[in-house]
Amino acid sequence: MEGLRSITRKLDLQHYVVYLGFLAIFAFFAITLSGDGFLTTRNLSNIVLQTAPATIMAIGFVFVLSAGEIDLSFGSITAVSALAGAVVMQDFPMVIGIAAGLGAGLAIGFFNGLLVAYLRLPSFLVTLATLGLFAGLARSMTNLRSIPVINDAFTGFFGSGALFGIPSLILWTLGAVIIGHLIYRETRFGAHVIATGDNPGAARVSGIKVPRIRLAVLMISGGCAGLAGLLYAGRLQAAKYTLGESDLMTVIAAVIVGGTALNGGKGSVVGALVGSLLMGMLNNGLILMGLSVSDQMIVRGLIILIAVAISLRDTGR
């Protein structure tokens, strides 16, 4: 009874928006694209596989937004991490490559976090700067070339592999969502992240180490972006400076549509997953409809605008 009531309470309006939107768009494509292979298992599983990196970036972004900060640099972090992993794996075993990729993500997140939490610089400006900084670094380091990843164990683990018939990218997504959700909803740390975004003053006088929380969320975002970079490198069997470049708008839209407040204090990891799948489905459906790239961008922009407007109106913001 208690459990049932808490479940119905959690399903407030914003959650409905993302689920209803998801179902509506799914139904729309299922009907209009029934002859174009939208509903095939292959296509549907492709959507999930393709959104895996964005979903994982979105989980990190939920933490950052909930703490009242923002991270615009995660796309660049994704590219740097993928490149770091790929370069290191040319000479070293997979484990060291993974450590390099994740380490690069965490290190950049740490850098962002130090500037935001301890030098009190606005995260919007800090991560806007590091977005450009690391995008440029990724370009100059590689002379705009892509770095191949020929390590079979790695490409299996992060890309084409499967366990018990379930593709590894789906397992990564599920694992990240479950762990992210648990930390966000069920731990003191998660509660402190949310409280920090809701009212930093109240958090501080309640004994929450606010700077530490700000540092932590930017590192989580960096770590998630690093993992996303490894997933890209595994799936594409190569790393390039362009990885993650186009994910910024998608991820932000996924997270906002998924019920996370733009100015902190409220969020949902599961909502971000559904939001991300929604964006992936939209992408997929618009391609199958035969829209040109420019038309796709227009339609996607409009749909995101509508979705964000609806979800923000329901939060009373």
Binding site: H192, A195, D198, A202, V205, G207, G265
Partner: protein, 250 residues
């Protein structure tokens, strides 16, 4: 104050407390004893040093000289969290509640209950304890799960006071607890404050409303421009005397 109380050791003793900011004297030479179950009001005009005093007791500022004793023991709080761990709670004027969170999460903000080997949040315990406490204090809120933003100003201040009550072992500092409230809500919050006396907690209240001070307090302490003008038993003084002490005009 009853005889029994006056013979007990004070919960809080301030002795010749002095505070200066960069040479500017904020509090001159302040001494006061606070006993369990007693409400002392701190009154004075703006800039009289009331807030500075509260900040010294709660550990936000350290006194420049003088001693603060808690239960007879000299204390110097490094920061507010140390004072809190010693059983001192502050109810701030601006509430210090997280608006988008439920009442029970605010009640346990920074001190959330956890369970099991993974230390996951124990919402059930937090909700139950919150409900018990708001019922005891008669803070009328729809539920422990209600979101702070959906509550009235009086309900919010009730929650803030309930939180202080939950954690205070010795002393609650109330900084203008009803400044932002209407008449009916002020009445409600004052009732809650009165019930705190029965919990054997010492209460120091800052208020601009002399009517309120006379309704609630056992003693009144007057500050003027950082100088302690005097302490009066509430029952043995009247508004005229307090006003002239506050303004310095007799």
């Amino acid at each position: 104050m009853t005889d029994q109380q006056s013979h007990r050791r004070p919960v809080l003793e301030l002795q010749n407390v002095h505070k200066a900011f960069a040479g500017l004297v904020a509090v001159e030479d302040f001494s006061l004893d606070l006993h369990a179950g007693e409400i002392v009001a701190l009154v004075g005009d703006n800039g009289a040093g009331k807030s500075t005093l509260v900040k010294m007791i709660s550990g936000v500022h350290a006194p420049t000289s003088g001693t603060i004793r808690l239960d007879g023991e000299d204390v110097s709080f490094a920061d507010a969290s140390v004072a809190r761990s010693r059983g001192i709670e502050v109810v701030y004027q601006d509430l210090a509640l997280a608006d988008q969170q439920p009442v029970y999460m605010n009640m346990f903000l920074g001190r959330e209950a956890v369970r099991g080997p993974l230390h996951l949040l124990d919402r059930k315990t937090m909700i139950e304890q919150t409900q018990t406490l708001v019922d005891e204090l008669d803070v009328r809120i729809p539920s422990a799960r209600a979101i702070i933003r959906d509550l009235s100003g009086g309900q919010r201040q009730g929650v803030a006071i309930a939180r202080a009550t939950r954690w205070a072992k010795k002393l609650i500092l109330l900084d203008e607890p009803t400044a932002a409230l209407g008449v009916a809500e002020t009445d409600k919050v004052e009732k809650i404050i009165t019930t705190l006396k029965e919990r054997d907690i010492a209460i120091l209240i800052i208020s601009h409303s002399l009517d309120q001070v006379f309704r609630l307090s056992d003693r009144i302490c007057v500050l003027r421009r950082g100088v302690q003008i005097g302490v009066r038993e509430t029952a043995a003084t009247d508004k005229n005397e307090i006003v002239s002490m506050i303004t310095g005009v007799s």
